[in-house]
């Protein structure tokens, strides 16, 4: 289900004294099964762009084609598009409203007019995917969940609609390292096992470096870089210029190189970095895994 964006502009509060343009001539093509990191500092327009991808915003200037369907076309079934392109918002409290976890996850499939058995099946599947144990959590009160669990319940609520594309907007913000890792593992599994197209919106470069294959960088409403993750991340100075912290691994490897250690450029994850450092130090036998 490819998504194409052509010459998209967006102005908030158009026609009022508070009008502010936040997207400028955006062109973007997303293919099936891609794992994209959409990064940029706050106010870059990431969330606004993301909301065009599942027809929460309808273009007034420019075009958005989802699987060939123009979202501005009156004949396009927008509800159907929103089921196919799932969107998980940063704050799970904006989504969760039922009493129990199970009921809330069932909300989407119920809207899709699934049979009760089908709904039950989808809830079970979604809970399994995000790693919420059904026995323990199905009847659990939403308000008794921790921050990380709420995020996972919110993701499950979207997954239960069986989307083919998943947009995750800042879902690691405000989580402790463990909750963060749990969520990222879920996302990785979804992409790998379900072959879902995933668009991961974040300003944490560490999250993005660990996961994605392609990175799109935005700044002040424009796409300023787009390419394979390794290449984009290697342009460290450019990222620093717009106020993004490059991943710690990249930072460390760069400094090691500056100090004269023979480590290669373009290392993105901790395991790779570890084995390269061990190699450079010429000391075999150090534990070769880290987690």
């Amino acid at each position: 289900m490819p998504i194409e964006i052509e010459h998209l502009n967006h102005t908030y509060k158009e026609g009022t004294p508070f009008a502010r343009q936040v997207l400028f001539d955006i062109n973007l093509k997303i293919d099936d099964g891609e794992f994209i990191g959409l990064i940029g500092p706050s106010q870059a327009g990431k969330t606004t762009l993301g909301q065009y991808l599942n027809a929460l915003f309808i273009p007034r200037s420019g075009r958005v084609l989802i699987d060939g369907r123009d979202t501005a076309d009156r004949k396009t079934d927008l509800v159907q598009i929103r089921f196919e392109v799932g969107y998980v918002f940063q704050n799970p409290e904006h989504q969760l409203f039922k009493t129990t976890v199970g009921e809330d996850i069932a909300f989407g499939p119920t809207r899709q007019r699934c049979t009760p058995e089908e709904v039950r099946e989808r809830v079970r599947e979604a809970m399994l995917l995000v790693g919420l144990d059904e026995e323990t959590f199905y009847q659990r009160d939403i308000f008794a969940l921790s921050g990380g669990q709420k995020r996972r319940a919110a993701i499950a609520g979207v997954l239960a609609c069986r989307p083919r594309v998943l947009i995750l907007d800042g879902i690691t913000a405000g989580l402790d390292p463990r909750g963060r890792k749990e969520i990222l593992d879920v996302v990785e599994r979804l992409h790998r096992e379900r072959e879902m197209t995933v668009i991961f919106i974040s300003h944490s470069m560490d999250d993005v470096a660990r996961l994605v294959e392609r990175i799109v960088v935005m700044d002040r409403g424009r796409i300023i870089d787009d390419g394979p993750a390794r290449e984009v991340l290697a342009r460290v100075n450019r990222l620093k210029q717009i106020g993004l912290e490059p991943p710690q691994v990249i930072e460390i490897m760069q400094r090691l190189r500056e100090k004269g250690f023979a480590v290669p450029a373009g290392i993105l994850n901790v395991d790779e970095a570890l084995s390269e450092i061990v190699k450079a130090l010429g000391r075999p036998g150090v534990k070769e895994s880290w987690n």
Binding site: K13, R82, F83, G86, F89, H94, F97, F107
Partner: protein, 275 residues
């Protein structure tokens, strides 16, 4: 989908016009006076003259007219319902019945009452909008507090009342923004808020109102903590960084208000109600 785009109530539009620069006490008292006049107004001519005066205020404050009028749009459905009720249920003695059925009876007086009331509500909304568009939150609190202070002697908690009012106004845009986010999150799960009949649409509000209320309570709780951690203990003994002072333009504004009141009262008495 942007709820906040059409929101004009509780929004401050910074500017340097004469209206912006008036003492907040003048503006609050003036707005209250205008509202009192509105409630007393009983005929179309007086409302027309009031609308003209409101228009002058909007132009003087350099508020884009379209922006000010847009804020009225969300109220139209409510007004329509109210209008129908007034039309069908009001039956003052001596009125002419146009038709009647069961408990409903449409009268000429009902028609007038409904129409006058709708105009009144729209103008009332405009007056309050002009006040908040030209007065910042800080000025509003200071003004309201100063006006209520004489009542403190008889046990009215002026400072607390002013603060409550300001917090309420301050959070209108915040809550609208939040509602927008919630609506989006639920739309992403397949709720189509623009489809279905009246009853269906009402039921669709549950997934929005529940998170909105819960978050509002949370926000209130956080606000209390934030205030207490900065040693807020109520109004006693607090001083102001900017003290309020009435100037020439304020006396001029009072003059205009007095003249306008005379005109309105004259119109009300001279013409009288149309039914």
């Amino acid at each position: 989908m942007e709820l906040t785009r059409d929101l004009t109530l509780g929004v401050y539009l910074p500017g340097k016009t004469a209206l912006h620069c008036l003492d907040p006490r003048t503006k609050i008292a003036g707005a209250s006076g205008l509202i009192l006049l509105l409630i007393l107004t009983n005929n179309y001519a007086a409302y027309a003259s009031f609308a003209a005066f409101t228009l002058v205020l909007i132009l003087a404050a350099k508020i884009p007219l379209r922006f000010a009028l847009k804020g009225l749009r969300p109220m139209l459905p409510f007004l329509a319902i109210m209008w129908v009720f007034q039309f069908l249920l009001q039956k003052p003695p001596g009125s002419k019945v146009i038709f009647s059925y069961w408990i409903f009876s449409a009268t000429d007086a009902g028609l007038h009452i409904g129409t006058l009331m709708s105009i009144r509500v729209l103008l009332l909304f405009l007056v309050i909008t002009i006040l908040t568009l030209t007065t910042s939150t800080v000025e509003l609190t200071d003004g309201a507090e100063a006006l209520l202070r004489p009542l403190q002697k008889i046990g009215v908690p002026a400072q607390e009342l002013a603060l409550t009012m300001v917090i309420a106004l301050r959070f209108v845009p915040t809550l609208a923004e939040e509602a927008e986010k919630i609506i989006k999150a639920q739309t992403a799960r397949g709720v189509d808020f623009n489809r279905g009949n009246f009853i269906r649409r009402t039921f669709k509000l549950f997934p929005v109102l529940l998170p909105l209320f819960i978050n509002a309570f949370k926000r209130a709780d956080e606000l209390i903590t934030a205030m207490e951690s900065r040693c807020y203990t109520g109004g006693a003994g607090r001083t102001k960084m900017k003290s309020l002072r009435m100037g020439k333009s304020d006396y001029f504004a009072w003059g205009i208000f007095a003249a306008f009141t005379v005109v309105q009262v004259f119109l009300m008495l001279k013409i009288g109600r149309p039914y």
